[in-house]
């Protein structure tokens, strides 16, 4: 009996390891917060209707935001019979200049889920100089009215939802925004991005502000994003990963690919964007040289992430 006690005691002493094991899943949580719940981000009550705008975590962030609009009768709380909902975000800077950002103008009705679906890729966060307003238009029970609502766009702390704005070789302005994964793993990750192009207005603005033709963005169709992920940290020598897949457009209009992250930390997603004809619109090849001690070279089209 004494023997067993002694052994048990010895086991306990030694089994308590000198250094603790890493809880790597919990560690990713410390730099990446994953939001899965749509909450109210803004509300407007007008003409007897209550318009509730929802976004993930109830916050508009710089970058890609999925937007849900719910319109109810403010008295009864019943879902109202709504149609023709349009959505236009506009930023005004200190000089009073207006610009928009990629967005879905004509929101899509999800009748089964009873909301209108859209998105906005806010290109700046709200600040003293830059302020964002949403311009909505909707027809409820045959009555059409406009609504304006100022909103607050916050910095996106999760670098996995970063975005970039650039001018391509075709002189057009493009925006690439990362949509998913919010919380990558050391693994294969489905990579989802949106590519948008600013439509330069052809006509002069019409009298009523805001004229949507002046603030139009389109989802770019049929392009391809070549992907080359690297670790930019000097000690990593521009380390890359295998088995990545370039991003191509799928039925949802978004660009889908696969990125492999071989370890946690800082990564750079280097892109080369090609149009339908295979011409390079933006991006450069990153050399494959292993360069320990030197900060990793990047494509001139890239997005940095961190997890």
């Amino acid at each position: 009996m004494k023997i067993l006690l002694f052994m048990a005691a010895l086991c306990v002493v030694v089994m308590s390891c000198t250094k603790g094991k890493t809880d790597y899943e919990a560690e990713i949580d410390t730099v990446v917060t994953e939001h899965v719940e749509f909450k109210e981000a803004a509300t407007v009550t007008t003409n007897g209707y209550h318009i509730r705008i929802e976004a993930l975590n109830g916050t508009f962030y710089k970058g890609y935001n999925e937007i849900r609009l719910k319109i109810t009768n403010s008295q009864t709380g019943e879902i109202s019979n709504t149609s023709g909902v349009t959505f236009l975000p506009i930023m005004t800077n200190a000089m009073g200049e207006h610009q928009s950002c990629p967005h879905r103008y004509q929101l899509m009705e999800r009748s089964d889920e009873k909301y209108f679906s859209g998105y906005a890729v806010f290109t700046e966060k709200s600040s003293l100089d830059d302020s964002w307003n949403l311009y909505l238009s909707l027809t409820v029970n045959g009555q059409t009215f406009q609504v304006e609502k100022s909103i607050n766009v916050q910095e996106q702390a999760n670098k996995n939802l970063n975005m970039t704005v650039f001018t391509g070789k075709d002189n057009e302005q493009y925006i690439i925004a990362l949509i998913s994964p919010q919380k990558p793993k050391v693994s294969e990750n489905e990579l989802l991005a949106g590519i948008y192009r600013y439509q330069k207005p052809i006509d002069n603005p019409s009298g009523v502000f805001p004229d949507p033709t002046q603030f139009s963005y389109t989802e770019v169709n049929g392009y391809m994003l070549q992907l080359d992920p690297r670790m930019p940290e000097p000690s990593m020598g521009n380390h890359s990963s295998p088995n990545n897949k370039d991003l191509t457009q799928q039925n949802d209009g978004l660009y889908h690919g696969v990125v492999n992250y071989t370890m946690t930390g800082n990564w750079t997603l280097n892109f080369i964007m090609q149009n339908q004809d295979g011409q390079i619109i933006k991006g450069t090849v990153v050399p494959d040289d292993f360069t320990p001690g030197i900060a990793g070279a990047k494509s001139d089209l890239h997005i940095d992430i961190l997890f």
């Binding site: 023997i3 067993l4 052994m7 010895l10 086991c11 030694v14 089994m15 390891c17 000198t18 250094k19 094991k21 890493t22 790597y24 560690e27 730099v31 793993k185 050391v186 693994s187 294969e188 670790m231 940290e233 000097p234 000690s235 990593m236 020598g237 521009n238 380390h239 890359s240 990963s241 295998p242 088995n243 492999n260 071989t262 370890m263 946690t264 930390g265 800082n266 494959d288 292993f290 320990p292 001690g293 961190l306």
Partner: protein, 662 residues
């Protein structure tokens, strides 16, 4: 009746117990020893040249063992010129797995020579008793004192100093036995500084510190049964690995077991011995002692194993058999965390062993029939079930998309051997067939840096079983004064697992030049040959010699790495009254069949001359031996074919030791 029982139980716990004096007593009872089938002769833990040796030095004196050396400590044993994944390494049949991805901690580093009684080396499939293997098995036998009629104390103390690396060691062991109870305890400390090579240059980062202690207690529960508990605790601290880009800060192992043994006087079954065991190993490397490292990394590793061994021995007339059930579960975890140059940035983390569970259940058996006085047939086999599970299989998916998280393998093994003795000749011929599962690193390793070929290695969970077909033969001649033995074996290994350059991915470790993935060659072949002899020139003057040759080739005729070139050992032993004198010469010829593909270069020949002398005397009732000697007397500057990164071996070393036993 009582006497017989005591005699039987005397054998229960250990065969070679203490010092030389108990040897004769045991010899008389060895006839009814456990029924050992087809196993090599046990050895006393000392070598020709040295009486106080480390476990590594002791193993090195065995003809079919060679070593990969990454420094002065924890050499990786190669059996039949095959690396440790292919060898079944156990302590008293217990499976233990090192916690180092860089193989800094073979099992042999977790014991000490003063808690071992012998090392069983079995070549090829005959070594499948404790689990599946290709090259054979190395079983480290712990010391265990038999029960005695009268209460008895025995013990030994050894101390010594080695000049070259200022190694100082102190080892003590103490045993108590009576007819009901036995206790064995041992403790040892070793401390060594950097050694100097043959140019008298200090080899930096070759120091080590080791502490080892063990305790075993047995209680006789009935005249024919006994219960035993054992524990070993080992701690190595501040161990340098000059051939690697990092050192060891701390490594600890706790090895415990409880066993119950029942003996039977009548009937077919003679002994039933069951043991449950648990062992835990933790291993923390340290690169902060190497300022040349650009990147600071933490690389901790843990390995935990639970297991069961249950064995019965059968004997009837000319037939003897051992049947053994082995079961164990191991979890191996290794992490790497790289620190960015700007420490404000986020550290980079990955698992190099993504929580890999290995479960094994196997039934092994060995049968021996004495066909006649002169000939014997041994037939045996094993069937094992090997299961792997990676908790973080997504790491493996990066290189092997969609590979299953679990993998189950059947590992069959068969072997047969025929032995014939006539007059002064003995002859044996055997054959074997067996599978082995890939090791944790081969299956699930993730960016494990190999500083030998400077590649990062990626495991492949879908590797096929390695299948070995083996033939062996030996021929010996023995007369009073002279003996000679020729041994050869040949392995044809299908799906031989090696690392091949991958044309995808890029290195993660900054010293690395590329990425290699474990893949299977169609086959590889290995041939080992040895010829050994001894001659008693005079009654007190003996000569011994050994020549070994090996050749390993892959499926395209290319050389396999770490194959020992033609090598020799020769020694002369002289005794006069209480004085003993021995001298030996050993060396390798030039390694012509090296493998550049696996990072090898041509290693030149070398020869090492050693001498030692000892004197035996008595202090009161204690027997004492004092020994003085020198290794590498010519101060040759050399590195062997298996020295990692061609680090030079130790130059001239003068050693002294004292052993007192009672």
């Amino acid at each position: 009746m009582k006497k017989l029982s005591v005699g039987l139980v005397l054998l229960v716990f250990g065969i070679y117990a203490k010092a030389q004096d108990s040897q004769i007593k045991q010899d008389s009872t060895r006839r009814i020893d456990e029924v050992h089938v087809n196993r090599m002769v046990k050895k006393k833990i000392e070598t020709e040249m040295k009486m106080s040796v480390s476990v590594d030095e002791f193993l090195a004196s065995s003809e079919n063992i060679s070593f990969i050396k990454r420094g002065a400590y924890a050499w990786e044993p190669l059996l039949n010129n095959m690396s440790s994944e292919r060898t079944n390494l156990t302590i008293d049949g217990m499976h233990i797995f090192g916690a180092c991805t860089d193989k800094m901690d073979p099992i042999t580093s977790y014991v000490e020579s003063n808690n071992l009684s012998a090392i069983d080396i079995t070549s090829g499939q005959a070594g499948s008793m404790h689990g599946s293997t290709v090259s054979g098995s190395i079983d480290l036998k712990r010391k265990s004192t038999p029960f005695s009629l009268d209460p008895k104390w025995s013990g030994a103390y050894q101390t010594g100093f080695e000049w070259n690396n200022k190694q100082f060691f102190n080892m003590g062991n103490l045993s108590y036995s009576d007819d009901k109870f036995v206790a064995d305890g041992s403790i040892s400390f070793r401390k060594a500084g950097n050694y100097a090579d043959g140019h008298n240059d200090e080899v930096k980062h070759s120091q080590y510190h080791k502490f080892n202690t063990s305790l075993g207690m047995a209680y006789k529960t009935s005249p024919l049964s006994a219960l035993r508990v054992d524990a070993i605790f080992d701690m190595a601290k501040d161990v340098g690995f000059p051939a690697l880009p990092m050192d060891l800060w701390l490594s600890r192992a706790l090895i415990t077991s409880a066993s119950y043994k029942q003996m039977f006087e009548d009937g077919l079954v003679k002994v039933w011995d069951s043991k449950i065991y648990f062992n835990a190993v933790e291993h923390y490397m340290d690169d902060t002692t190497r300022p040349e490292n650009l990147v600071h990394m933490d690389m901790p590793g843990w390995s935990t194993t639970y297991g069961l061994v249950s064995k019965i021995n059968l004997k009837k007339d000319d037939y003897a058999s051992e049947i053994q059930l082995n079961a164990y579960e191991n979890v191996s975890i290794a992490e790497m965390r790289m620190y960015p140059q700007d420490r404000n940035n986020r550290t980079m983390f990955a698992y190099s062993w993504p929580w890999v569970t290995t479960r094994y259940v196997g039934l092994s058996m060995n049968n021996a029939w004495e066909i006649s006085d002169k000939s014997q047939v041994n037939v045996g086999g094993a069937l094992g079930l090997n299961y792997n599970h990676a908790k973080y299989v997504e790491f493996n998916w990066i290189f092997h998309p969609g590979t299953p998280q679990e993998k189950t393998r059947f590992l069959p093994s068969l072997h047969a051997n025929y032995q014939l003795n006539f007059d002064s000749f003995n002859f044996s011929a055997g054959t074997g067939y067996g599978h082995r599962a890939p090791s944790v690193s081969e299956g699930y390793g993730y960016y494990i840096y190999n500083s030998f070929d400077r590649y990062d290695y990626i495991g492949n969970p879908d590797l096929k079983n390695e299948i070995s077909y083996e033939m062996n033969a030996s021929l010996g001649f023995k007369k009073e004064k002279v003996g000679i033995e020729v041994k050869a074996n040949y392995f044809y290994i299908q799906n031989y697992i090696v690392g091949r350059i991958l044309n995808m991915g890029s290195p993660m470790n900054y010293q690395s030049v590329g990425v290699k993935g474990y893949t299977s060659l169609d086959h590889a072949t290995l041939f080992n040959f040895s010829i050994g002899g001894h001659y008693d020139i005079l009654q007190n003057l003996q000569w011994k010699g050994l020549l070994t040759y090996a050749r390993g080739q892959d499926d395209r005729g290319g050389n396999l790495p770490f194959i020992r070139p033609l090598s020799y050992q020769t020694s002369v032993h002289f005794t006069h009254h209480k004085i003993g004198f021995q001298t030996s010469l050993n060396g390798d010829f030039t390694q012509n069949n090296y493998s550049p593909e696996y990072g090898e270069d041509k290693t030149s020949s070398y020869k090492i001359w050693n001498v030692s002398a000892d004197y035996r005397f008595n202090i009161k009732n204690c027997k004492a031996v004092v020994q003085v000697g020198a290794e590498n007397l010519w101060n040759e500057y050399y590195s062997t074919y298996a020295d990692w990164g061609n680090i030079p071996r130790m130059g001239r070393n003068i050693f002294t030791s004292l052993k007192v036993g009672f």
